[in-house]
Assembly symmetry: C2
Homo-oligomer: 215 residues x 2
DNA sequence: GGCGCTGTTGATCAAGCGGTCAACAACGCC
DNA sequence: GGCGTTGTTGACCGCTTGATCAACAGCGCC
């Protein structure tokens, strides 16, 4: 009847541990927020010792920054793949709005909001936030530029407009975190707004089979 | 040569102390962020003992919530006064966008972002956030409703549209916190978007003597 | 089958947090 | 001028955080 059955110390490869730590950090960030990514929380989640987490990570600030970057970069990749299947710029933009505003991504939005807040005291995180925001803006800018090149959109500066569209999406999602408004209304109004910014006829960006694009 | 000249204990009225504490908390929130409002930080700022802060405050969570509510409620009052002088709904809305997007309120925006993040673990703060967001939405809704009543705006649901406008403003300001984009471009695009949502002719919401409205 | 490289651990540290409490002392009242 | 009310204080407590380090022990290699 051994009271503490000796935790059966297992020995794994450094790369394996690093993967486990990253996965645990990501799970915690999505479930409880980026500020819950602490040495001990990650250690518990990954079933290891806090000291081991510290051993594999330069600093907790760095781990938080990497976790943030990983989450939002994957989200971007996912969306790029979804949009890649669509050729028409209008439908592509419509799909983008519909997907990002469908209310199924509260966890990622929470990570964004926490990152903006925590970036004030975590330089690595602040840098990662700037980098990821730039990546997202570029993606939207490319969609818009594609449309203007095809003569479908009319827009002075696709870069500026992309920033605005991104800010609108982030603002709506951040609000949804506390206000839980109906996604459908948001998509409709956002679509109106984007149509105006791109010189499109009202209604020409109608949602494509709304809700079909699962996460 | 007294080493510690005995801090000369002063005795003030409870109300006076409460005011001092509130002022210190507000200063810290605006200067360093809502998460820097700690017992010790407030005590240092207000030149008193941490224990005295604890004595006058139900809990630090409550103080943080009150500090947040005070800051953004004052901001709203200020804006209401500014808008009250203007009679025309179009110019009122234009003034609203121009003022809130002039880039001079990073400190308050930071407080908003921190509140969204911290609200997850501070129930009192979360409640205050919902309350203040509702107040802001009502203010914008009234401006829009005024315009629709006058037959100038065309809008299905002023409430929904107000939520959208507020989200857009918050998103743009949150972005400005890390992206420092040019305010002028933001105002221009936001104006286009709002015009579309209110069935206005492009250009009819042109900024009124841009930049004239000081803080 | 033993040895050593190296992954792993528990103990421990300083710092910072919110909150409590008995003791102190300023100020007004009688 | 003494006294009591009450605002104020320092010394704590328990807790959580990130980080360090000597010591331990798998696992592969010879």
């Amino acid at each position: 009847m051994q009271s503490t059955p000796r935790p059966a110390r297992t020995r794994k490869t450094p790369d394996g541990r690093r993967v486990e730590i990253a996965a645990a950090a990501r799970a915690i960030a999505l479930r409880q927020g980026l500020d819950a990514v602490t040495q001990r929380a990650v250690a518990t989640e990954a079933a290891m010792t806090p000291a081991l987490v510290a051993h594999y990570v330069a600093s907790m600030d760095a781990l938080v920054a990497e976790t943030f970057a990983g989450i939002v970069a994957d989200e971007l990749t996912e969306l790029r793949e979804l949009l890649g299947e669509e050729g028409d710029p209008q439908r592509k933009l419509s799909l983008l709005l519909g997907t990002l505003l469908d209310g199924s991504r509260h966890d990622v939005t929470s990570v964004w909001v926490h990152a903006w807040a925590l970036g004030r005291r975590n330089d690595a995180l602040a840098a990662a936030v700037r980098e990821q925001m730039d990546d997202w803006q570029r993606m939207i800018r490319d969609v818009i530029a594609e449309g203007t090149a095809a003569g479908v959109f009319r827009c002075d500066d696709p870069g500026d407009t992309a920033w605005h569209v991104l800010a609108m999406i982030d603002g709506l999602n951040a609000h949804a975190l506390v206000h839980w408004g109906a996604p459908a209304v948001q998509v409709s109004l956002a679509t109106q707004a984007v149509e105006a910014m791109l010189g499109l006829r009202p209604g020409s960006l109608a949602a494509p089979t709304a809700g079909a694009a699962g996460r």
